[in-house]
Symmetry: C2
């Protein structure tokens, strides 16, 4: 792909899911995998998978499937996770602690590099391998380190203020755990992880 604009966002949104499935398949010792096998593992049609992955070049060979290692490498490159991104965490309550200690970021492109809170009782305490810092130092620290990704794990009432601070500090991508929609400039992306939303999406279908 010469231009990143050419891949629709709905396709982009599936790429990390393909990547995760391919990495699991590699852990199982597989070297090739068919679109049919991926389809069974992901609940996405094989035709859709072939169409999506064709945007990244001709990796699939008829009858042999996709070479897993090469496709992982291509997806990691396109998703820009052939590097490790530093992430700033704001809000170190229960959830923030769980995130700071989560082992699942390391091999998948991310590292929580700093953690901030405004509670004097939390500042200076340990969160995973980090020492919790005073949120009043956030803008300077994040700017100096040129961190582009933030994670908000504060209560809802504080989240917009924290988002403003992150944007001011140069952050361009925010993962928001607070149950509130954030207003940010057009050049900043936000993804939401409010657990109630997917729960309510499922209860719609429950009798």
């Amino acid at each position: 792909m010469s231009s990143r604009e050419k891949i629709p966002h709905v396709v982009v949104s599936r790429l990390p899911i393909y990547l995760r499935a391919l990495e699991h398949a590699r852990q199982e010792g597989l070297t090739c995998i068919s679109s049919q096998e991926l389809s069974e593992r992901l609940g996405i049609s094989a035709a859709q998978i072939r169409k999506d992955l064709s945007m990244f070049g001709e990796y699939g060979k008829q009858g042999r499937g996709y070479p897993i290692a090469a496709l992982i490498e291509a997806l990691r490159r396109h998703l820009h996770i052939d590097r490790v991104w530093d992430v700033v965490l704001v809000g170190v309550g229960d959830l923030g602690h769980a995130l700071a200690r989560y082992k699942g970021f390391a091999n998948r492109g991310f590292r929580i590099a700093m953690a901030f809170d405004k509670d004097p009782e939390r500042i200076g305490t340990q969160a995973g391998d980090l020492v919790v810092e005073d949120v009043r130092l956030l803008a300077r620290r994040v700017q100096e380190a040129a961190i582009k990704i933030g994670m908000i794990a504060t209560p809802a009432a504080a989240a917009q203020e924290v988002a403003n601070l992150l944007v001011f500090a140069g952050v361009k991508a925010i993962l928001n755990y607070a149950p509130i929609h954030l207003t940010v400039p057009d050049d900043v992306r936000v993804e939401y992880l409010d657990p109630v939303i997917p729960l309510q999406r499922m209860t719609y279908y429950l009798a």
Copy 2:
């Protein structure tokens, strides 16, 4: 709506987001809200919002906007959260503890009613207001209580086995925090909350 089949899933998936925004607006003291105002708060076009909400009857009046309380009530009814759903939590590490103590479920239709783990050092300990139970008791306990919703907060390696157990116990909706795709019968829904997936969706767009 007479039949639940008539609303496309992509619309259903936006309903909880509308509901959350309407509840925030009500907390702010508003009684009516226009599709334009909702659009600005959610980043969804006003036309899309009007189209989605028109499926639930004629709540919006030209020039006056939606009556917030009535629309909240209708959405809660359609999403089946005009009641409280008991949820079973499996895996009480850092994340499980954070979920057990999370205050954001209570007013939005959910209550973690039981928590299970297989680690003898965790069984019998406190998680929020609950006592962690032995996972070997899960099937019987969940069946007896007729719980239909499960939350998996175990490591990836254990998640499929736990999912099988939940399905066996009669669970029909699973919120999966483990970074792995789950295979379940057609009548069981799964939603995923792996934080790395949305992070990778954003790094695609970062230079």
